[in-house]
């Protein structure tokens, strides 16, 4: 059992380095090595989750040194869940995106797989670690690799979108690092648990307050909370398909996890909600984020851009839920990390299939898509229902907890924003369905027989459809097991 927390991250890292070498020797070996690395990693994540559920928190000492001296992995049910989510999404995407990688980056697919694996390593490290500075180092890897991957996208606009992301991302990371620096000056420690113990006695310190604000702003920039979101839509919509599919569901969600981790483990609810009492302001901010994200999504003419703005809106859900200051809201946020990752992944898998077949996903290019790609659109519809929040898909349940939490806290504006956002999402997706169902007659088309021609099916390859099918079905399965997830994973950790 002991080696799984290390294996979880070392397996993809070694796979990345071996692919980095085999790129130059025998490029065909890169892909199998990557899949093998991700399989080992997913298996480890599964084993870790099982172990945490049966035996409680796992501690793993890197280099064998005890925590405040060395670096420790501290895995409780929350990170175990997020770790399994990351490894599975990364693995499924690697399988589903094999063909798009070959099409979109034909002459550098080996190096692309290397950097993809390093990105996953970064996400896993950020999630598993119990050390504030180690978190920053892994965040740096995650960011650097995502800049590079996004820059490989759209020939004209990809590099520019990536450059904007670099500027804003670096500022975000610097804020976080400054916050950690302030904490270190005040506590002399970098281990999360150790820092938490020390600052529990200095709740009235200015330095801790500034450290808290800096860390939160840094994390908000990285997760694209509303006024700080400007890098996200372009970065996600001009990225290569294989990248958008993994960055969109995971990057922002892992940053929400970091925020939740800082709030629960490092600073503590007492400090945030009793001593500081910033809750009301942040919930208002989240409310604005939800509505602004939804309104900007309404103005889009491209499916990828629209989804990117929906992500901005979803970030508002999670930040607001976490800052409501009660267990129900926090439960909703943590459940939504899981659900939103799966929903967004399903949506982007479907969009990736459309791009593979149709070239681009401007609304004008989606006409009659139900006839041409029925399976892909089937998955898309399920994911869309989940985003809107139709039971029994999983999106409904986390939204339910969020709304309950909002009522419990008396934040009726937040509850209203959640419901309005559902309506906006319904409008957004039904507009897409309408375009997809009814092929508009083109100008001057008076040939009656044109409407009787059966649509020709041009579906995506099976290797792309099966992952989409699996993920869309899991939307319902996760939804049906929401109660179990809340009772065994989330609630024990919050108490």
């Amino acid at each position: 059992m002991n080696t799984y927390p290390a294996l979880l991250i070392v397996a993809p890292l070694l796979a990345a380095l071996f692919t980095g070498i085999f790129v130059w020797i025998e490029e065909r070996l890169c892909y199998p090595i990557a899949v093998l690395g991700m399989l080992i990693s997913s298996f480890s994540a599964y084993k870790i989750l099982m172990a945490v559920l049966s035996a409680g928190v796992i501690h793993y000492r890197h280099a064998g040194w005890a925590p405040p001296m060395g670096i420790e992995y501290r895995i409780d049910t929350l990170n175990a869940m997020v770790l399994l989510l990351i490894t599975l999404i990364a693995l499924i995407n690697l399988v589903a995106s094999y063909k798009t990688i070959l099409v979109e980056t034909p002459d550098r697919s080996g190096s692309f797989i290397t950097i993809y694996l390093l990105f996953v390593v970064g996400l896993l490290g950020v999630t598993a670690t119990g050390d504030l500075f180690n978190l920053y180092v892994l965040l740096e890897i995650t960011s650097l690799t995502s800049y590079a991957q996004i820059g490989l996208g759209d020939k004209d606009r990809g590099p520019l979108a990536s450059l904007n992301y670099v500027f804003i991302g670096v500022i975000g990371a610097s804020f976080y690092l400054l916050g950690v620096g302030y904490l270190y000056i005040k506590t002399g420690s970098l281990n999360m648990m150790d820092v938490a113990t020390i600052i529990s006695t200095m709740h009235d310190s200015n330095t801790v307050l500034v450290a808290f604000i800096l860390c939160m702003i840094g994390v908000w920039i990285k997760m694209a909370l509303f006024p700080l979101h400007v890098w996200l839509p372009n970065a996600y919509s001009y990225a290569p398909t294989a990248v958008a599919r993994v960055v969109a569901p995971l990057m922002t969600k892992v940053m929400v996890y970091v925020m939740v981790r800082l709030m629960i483990t490092v600073f503590g609810f007492d400090y945030i909600f009793s001593t500081l009492d910033l809750s009301a302001a942040v919930v208002w901010l989240a409310t604005i984020a939800i509505l602004a994200g939804g309104l900007m999504a309404l103005a889009q003419k491209d499916l990828k851009k629209m989804l990117a703005y929906i992500i901005v809106s979803e970030i508002g859900y999670m930040v607001g839920g976490a800052w409501l200051g009660n267990t129900t809201g926090m439960t909703g946020t943590i459940l939504h990390i899981l659900n939103d990752a799966v929903m967004t992944f399903a949506l982007f898998l479907a969009v990736g299939n459309m791009i593979y077949v149709c070239g681009h996903v401007g609304f004008d290019n989606l006409k009659g898509l139900f006839g041409r790609m029925p399976w892909t659109m089937g998955g898309f519809v399920l994911a869309a229902f989940s985003i809107i929040g139709v039971p029994p898909t999983c999106g409904f349940f986390s939204k339910w907890y969020l709304v309950l939490g909002a009522f419990e806290a008396g934040a009726y504006h937040f509850a209203a924003a959640l419901i309005i956002s559902s309506l906006i999402c319904a409008i957004l997706f039904f507009r897409i369905f309408e375009i997809g169902f009814f092929p508009e007659p083109s100008d001057g088309d008076d040939h009656a027989h044109a409407h009787h021609e059966p649509a020709v099916m041009v579906e995506a390859p099976v290797s792309m459809l099966v992952p989409l099918g699996l993920v869309s079905l899991s939307l319902i399965i996760v939804g049906l097991y929401s109660g179990t997830i809340v009772n065994t994973i989330i609630l024990p950790m919050l108490q």
Binding site: T3, I141, I185
Partner: protein, 274 residues
């Protein structure tokens, strides 16, 4: 827009200053940073690791896991440069200079190449006449720079230095070759394939040493587990483990420096350049 920027900068600066109001005094020996963990490091590090340089002990052993990922960051930077800048398209035309006469020839057929030697030399937009003094001075200097780089890597346990610094010095010696001669000379001597493999291999040395400790019964990067295969004092073996990972860091940093330089200087084309 400028005004908003100015206001935000002022608020951030004010926030940072506000936070410093409770800082311990400058150099205060009783500050948390110098009491909480530092004492333990200072008192125990030499006994536990047999490395006289405490910085190296903290960097490569106590927090070796961080340093491993810092090396991976360097690798990412090199890889990102390669991915984004490398241009695999064939050059359409080439220029040559006939050395004795100074006549410049243009060859339009992509497959046809002139023999480059004493008679012809490559010619591109950044061509400069070769300078005898610069070339010879650098030729003498480069081997010494490289030996010094190896010394810095190997001596990191005992004095300031280590893999990052040594790697940078070694890499800069190769870049000096490219500056004093031309990029083509460097690319011919150090093949792109070799550099690409070295980038990953350097990090692999680090991760490999760490991973080797796991089947031997230790935690990841716990060098003392290596005593199972090298019968040595478990404290002393840590010093050698650190030397091993420092060498890995040195290789990776050296290769990445050169990869980044070549790709940026030649706009990813590798055959053109300074």
């Amino acid at each position: 827009m400028r005004l908003i920027g100015f206001i935000i900068v002022c608020i951030c600066g004010g926030l940072l200053l506000y936070g410093t109001s409770e800082f311990p005094d400058w150099g205060d020996p009783a500050s948390p940073a110098s009491t909480h963990l530092s004492n333990d490091y200072i008192e125990k590090a030499f006994d536990q690791t047999q490395v006289p340089n405490l910085v190296t002990a903290v960097l490569a052993d106590y927090r070796g896991f961080d340093t491993m990922f810092e090396t991976a960051v360097v690798f990412c930077a090199g890889l990102a440069c390669l991915l984004l800048l490398r241009d695999y398209s064939r050059k359409k035309e080439r220029f040559y200079r006939h050395v004795p006469t100074g006549v410049i020839l243009q060859v339009k057929h992509p497959e046809k190449k002139l023999p480059v030697g004493t008679e012809f030399e490559y010619m591109d937009k950044d061509w400069v006449p070769s300078d005898l003094i610069i070339k010879n001075v650098c030729r003498i200097l480069i081997p010494f720079i490289q030996i010094y780089a190896l010394y810095v890597v190997a001596h990191g346990d005992f004095s300031p230095g280590g893999g990052f610094q040594g790697g940078v010095i070694f890499g800069s010696s190769l870049i000096l070759l490219a500056i004093s001669y031309n990029l083509r000379t460097l690319v011919q001597r150090v093949k792109e394939k070799a550099l690409g493999i070295l980038c990953a291999l350097g990090v692999l040395v680090y991760v490999g040493i760490g991973a080797l400790c796991m089947p031997l019964g230790g935690n990841f990067l716990d060098y003392s587990a290596l005593t199972r295969i090298i019968p040595w004092d478990p404290h002393h073996i840590r010093a050698y483990g650190m030397l091993g990972v420092e060498i890995g860091v040195g290789i990776a940093v050296m290769a990445v420096m050169v990869v980044i330089y070549i790709n940026i200087a030649s706009e990813g084309r590798h055959d053109e350049g300074l």
